[in-house]
Symmetry: C2
Subunit: 470 residues, 2 copies
Amino acid sequence: MSILHEKLDALFKPRSVAVIGASRKPGKIGYTILKNIIDYGFKGKIYPVNPAATEILGHKAYPSVLDIPDEVDMAVIAIPADKVLDVAEQCGKKGVKVLVVITSGFGEVGNKEAEEKLVEIARKYGMRILGPNIFGIAYTPSRLNATFGPPELREGSIAFISQSGALGIALMGWTYMEEIGLSAVVSMGNMADLDVAEVSEYFAEDENTRVITIYLEGLKPGTGKRFIEIMRKVSLKKPVIVIKAGRSKRGAMAVASHTGSLAGADQVYDAAFKQSGVLRAYTVEEMFDWARAFAYQPVPKGERTIIITNGGGVGVLATDAAEEYGVPLLVPSEELKSKLRETMPWFGSPRNPVDLTGQAGVENYVKALEVAYNSDEVDNIIVLYCRTAILDPLELAKAIVEVANKHADKGKPLLAGLVGGRDVYEAIRYLNRNKIPAYPSPERAVSSLATMLRYKRFREKLLKEHESKA
Amino acid sequence: MSILHEKLDALFKPRSVAVIGASRKPGKIGYTILKNIIDYGFKGKIYPVNPAATEILGHKAYPSVLDIPDEVDMAVIAIPADKVLDVAEQCGKKGVKVLVVITSGFGEVGNKEAEEKLVEIARKYGMRILGPNIFGIAYTPSRLNATFGPPELREGSIAFISQSGALGIALMGWTYMEEIGLSAVVSMGNMADLDVAEVSEYFAEDENTRVITIYLEGLKPGTGKRFIEIMRKVSLKKPVIVIKAGRSKRGAMAVASHTGSLAGADQVYDAAFKQSGVLRAYTVEEMFDWARAFAYQPVPKGERTIIITNGGGVGVLATDAAEEYGVPLLVPSEELKSKLRETMPWFGSPRNPVDLTGQAGVENYVKALEVAYNSDEVDNIIVLYCRTAILDPLELAKAIVEVANKHADKGKPLLAGLVGGRDVYEAIRYLNRNKIPAYPSPERAVSSLATMLRYKRFREKLLKEHESKA
């Protein structure tokens, strides 16, 4: 692992980046990538390479990578396909550690020979390759945005690996808007060398990543067993969430025509995910909902969950979702019930869901949360809110954050579901910014906790297996 | 039907409304309701009733409903429970047609006797009752917002019936933020008289409503058969989408403790919905996703669906969703394929999903949409977009609306799924404002079309049954 880790540091934490094919023309890929690297505030050195320029975007340009008077950790290659092999050769001679090959026109259009030669050259010089046929790589702790996607990215602890270019770029913009913080975005493309498993392995060790998300279309033939082995190890350290596209027959055909990779029978993938503890999501929204829960909150220690609400209706919806997704709702003891009863009006309900009623103010929520955090019967907390005239959602959000921070040492995950208009939306944002995963519906909060519980169960099972072997 | 309709016109299109318990104190329910009625611009006459005031919010106040020198179609009652019966008696004498009883403290807290007496009084005078224990009623074509929920509502053609108060109010705010246009919001409460079926029956005839949405916790005992009979008739005229809460065992218990209504075995409800053509949603978001499709687009005439995309990845996700939800993707003929090929770069794919590639501009989409609208092979169209640097999402949205309007007479539903950041979000809004149901993910567009197809199938089956009987 450590050798891999060191090598891939050149991909995520390069001290210097050459952009080969850097352009002065807005709209060109070689322009956008260089501009993104500069504008996002990359901490290392930046070397544009273009034989027809002496300066691009304020940086001295070099005719070739060999002319750069410094070590080059990473070379981003955005030149026509027929020139890539020569340039790769030069990079090898220069001692470049990793090639990020943006260029398309390789295996994905049947040009397998050139792709194999590219790999040969890399092997010869001990270089690693990301790509070809990708939109780039970003790693926010290095302030590195070497993509031709959007210029902005939120910093955070979710790593996102995408086997689709267009979707990956679109989701960069989407995560920014949704305030989803990322540690990395990695475009996989043809996976001539580096693949999903190896990149995940890096993130397993990465101190800036807490959860790994993957949009997967298909593994390369013959790499299935290795995928399972590696992902089991990765899952032990960090949760991995995957969307596997092409699960339907027609979807698999569409994958084949799209990336040329083997989609394979979906049951095979499903079994592989189960064996390796990989958490399978079915929509993009779901994947990032779950990821935020892992990014912000501790993995549950137990199963017993309490729901605290001010609306009976959302409480029922959450209860239905809990049964459907497999979240065990605790049955409060008489002692716990009597403590809860003190937090609510007389017509409230101390049963689970705990109904503080529409009359609930901030103080009712705070008291009920205190009881839940302090009770030995409670492992996990879901707090729900329906907009009422008497309880300002932002005030509630602030109080929730305060209580949660006070009890952070207890290791009990707290998730929130809030329903209402603009001010509720702002409260949801506030909670997420303060590391309380919050969603605009009760079901999405429950689904996220359910996934945390699935992960907890898998990890415990795996640890037991390890122990029994030892 | 027509007698019901006339009577309920007093609920939705009253010429005059008395607010009994109108208050001058902000924060009081009787204040908020009156203020909402005034501020939302109610077209009829407004009469505050309060023995301790001569004027409230600029309107002359009356000591009792009997003192109002005019006919009163609707009386909104927001006074303590122990005074409701007397006031109902007065309303009867006054000739009020419908009582909207906000007041709680009846059947839901065990006070069944008072609730029965209330119904008796109403029967005696030929009045109808909405409630008690409700947040009110809104009907946007009358500019009537007689609720203590948020003051604003978007006009539109979706009727929303809620058996939960807190959730209903919260969703008023949510629909406003999400720009979901409503014809009506009806709080059902204890359903002492008017129930979900009867209100739905009204909307079936209502020229301002295209689709009916219902948050349902449970029917009153003994009304199941009637529900099925009525809802079958309603479904023939308009789609009905329902969320039935309390489908899990624990959820059903929570319903019982929340509204006191019988949740019953979920299979019974499920069978009832299937028999009556009611479309069952599982989350609030899903319900309104589907409702927007019905509100904006025609019901499909056929099953054969085409997907047009600029991103392979979202195309695959949509294909998976199509298989899962039951949307048949057409296999294009050679003729159609050759026409589609002319709309895309050489490396695109004319198979379904039709992949215009990341190089696609507005003109590619417009050409492909023209082909789809003009082809006899195509019944339904799903258009997908991933944010790319070369295609501005708002420009695309404008072009889509133009093409769709041009071909509106063809009766082919068009739905859109767009993935990306802030500007994509704005494009989604633009599309929805212009009656193209648009969603931030491919799956949600497919799910909505799938529901339209389910509705189409049910209606055809039912029409056939009617024919064979005739």
